[in-house]
Symmetry: C2
Subunit: 362 residues, 2 copies
């Protein structure tokens, strides 16, 4: 079968070239007579891959030297706990901005560990359709940190301006928009992202953290949960998920070859522009619930007139080789994830289908 148009929300489409490279060398990595999966994490072969992945991150994102780049396990949900364990000492409080299901989960987990505060929420009932304005944030100037979710995977909203948090360290869950464009890393104290949307397979989580923050983080927690432990051991304190790091390296190498993040941003904006343009054009049939200024470039959500039509939409699209379009089970509707590896041609196919479907059913 030909490759489908994969609009999955994560795990998600990966660049074909990154997968082909993995397939080619899966049984024999660089003439070593074994798979990269069978190599020791302390040997030269894997070390080369690991170091290349780290330096590709530094290069693509222009990460300053006073930031660590860490490869961890456990997913972003694990960071929901690791962030407060490391950064939220007794007697301090942390600010959370609630913009979707994942920021709620991050807030709840932190609340099991320390004192947390809601600095803002845009919830209306159980739904979110926008990012708060700066003047809606009630920030505690003595907070241990402020936590935001830069892209809300379920609700299709995205921060387009970095909030100003003064001297309070800004912590960002970038799981679903990491590396979608260049950013100024210095605006953040700590960034974390599960790899399985824009940058690789599930099973590895990337953390970018200011060194002084890590240095001053808590020591009275289990060693494996301390950022310090992983920073001091170049993310090799214990056995890393070697294949996940290897495949992430392949994805980053492709990103660099394509022209890096400026070119990736251009492609992502073209894809999202085409899809939102179509939604606006066909707004008599499709309804995009997200406030215009908060629209996500990564996850585009919309509704059809009835749930029955939504089901038919998903089923007919699947027949035409377009998969991953059903919205999250808590939101319903349609969700189109447009991560870096989704090609413009896939969005063009989807848009053609949407026009036909609206005409037939409208």
């Amino acid at each position: 079968m030909a490759r489908v148009h994969n609009f999955n929300a994560g795990p998600a489409a990966l660049p074909l070239a990154a997968l082909e490279r993995a397939q080619r060398e899966l049984l024999d990595f660089e003439g070593t007579g074994m798979s990269i999966i069978e190599h020791s994490h302390r040997g030269k072969a894997f070390e080369g891959v690991h170091d290349e992945a780290l330096s590709l991150f530094r290069e693509l994102l222009a990460i300053p030297d006073d930031y660590h780049v860490l490869f961890l396990q456990g997913g972003a949900s694990h960071q929901f706990a690791m962030v407060p364990l490391n950064l939220l000492p007794p007697g301090k409080s942390a600010d959370y901005v609630l913009t979707g299901g994942w920021s709620e989960k991050a807030y709840e987990e932190a609340g099991r560990i320390g004192t947390v505060r809601v600095a803002a929420t845009t919830a209306e009932g159980k739904r979110y359709t926008r990012i708060p304005r700066q003047n809606e944030l009630s920030l505690d100037p003595s907070a241990a940190y402020v936590h935001i979710t830069t892209n809300n995977t379920l609700f299709g909203t995205q921060w387009h301006d970095v909030p100003v948090a003064g001297d309070v360290p800004l912590v960002a869950d970038m799981s679903s928009d990491f590396l979608w464009r260049p950013i100024d890393v210095r605006r953040y104290a700590l960034i974390y992202a599960g790899a399985q949307k824009n940058i690789g397979p599930s099973g590895v989580t990337v953390v970018v953290a200011r060194k002084d923050l890590v240095e001053n983080s808590r020591k009275d927690i289990p060693k494996i949960f301390q950022y310090r432990t992983h920073a001091e051991n170049n993310s090799l304190y214990n056995t890393p998920p070697t294949f996940a790091i290897y495949l992430m390296r392949n994805v980053l190498a492709v990103a660099k070859e394509l022209g890096g993040l400026p070119e990736i941003e251009r492609k992502n904006r073209a894809k999202a522009g085409l899809l939102y343009g179509t939604l606006d054009e066909l707004s008599g049939f499709y309804r995009a619930p997200v406030e215009r200024e908060s629209r996500s470039v990564m996850n585009v959500v919309f509704r059809l007139p009835t749930e029955e039509l939504e089901k038919r939409f998903v089923a007919e699209a699947a027949k035409q080789g377009m998969v991953g379009l059903a919205g999250h089970r808590v939101t319903g509707g349609i969700r189109v994830s447009l991560y870096n590896a989704v090609e413009l041609a896939s969005v063009e196919a989807l848009v053609r289908f949407m026009k036909d479907f609206a005409k037939q059913s409208g």
Copy 2:
């Protein structure tokens, strides 16, 4: 290049058939037009793989219904913390039996979380050469649990009899000998193992735990660290390491096809028998420091007359396509890991080399 003889301690050799299957379908999983890596963890394709991996474990190990099988992230080192977080409430103490570097690490991590006690240690200085006898264990009958390391990867010792712990739950780190033979799961309350030695790639950890133990475990810890969370969600609370689980499934399917654990045990005993036999035969040159009754079937350690000869041994073996023979950095010497996927033919090649090397250098 032909496949080398891979004696790595972990990540380690995998069955060629499991890797070939992965290679064959890496770009197109079962005609779905995408890689298993690109499939949603909530979709039918991955669900089938996940459930098959779970049921292969149950079948191969004859795991009773009143035990959970969980797939987690973070490695065995993560379990060093999760075990006491879940099972060691304030006011209770846990017993640790120290038989090597990994049990020391497990003990130290647990000590950061609660009260721990050494129930026995066979350390002589910084070395371990044997497993304690039952009558050497000073067990606390009111302990929350007793922790053992069934195979000591660094020092090449292995428990051949399960210790009797009375009513106290027995917790076992089986990272380096999980599935090497059939076991009576009922003797254990909780088993954990990183996959990267006998059963798969790094990046996934298997936990087998008695359901009542999980039910009564602590609730006042972060949700992501609770066994309960993963048990209640069939290990899909958050995004699992999908490719690692997929490849583990491939390895388990091969194990079943080969005749299951009885046949695997027979092969493992033949490999270890040949190697230890050679060491005993050539004991004028090679020195096997481990007490005979404690010899590991998985990791065989030995010394040569000088460190210089050891270096030459490793280098010349590598030239003949035998890799992974250098002992762990804390122990030195030679270590031969004979995990399930290592073929008897590899051990035969090694033994021939050892005889030649001893003749030339002895």
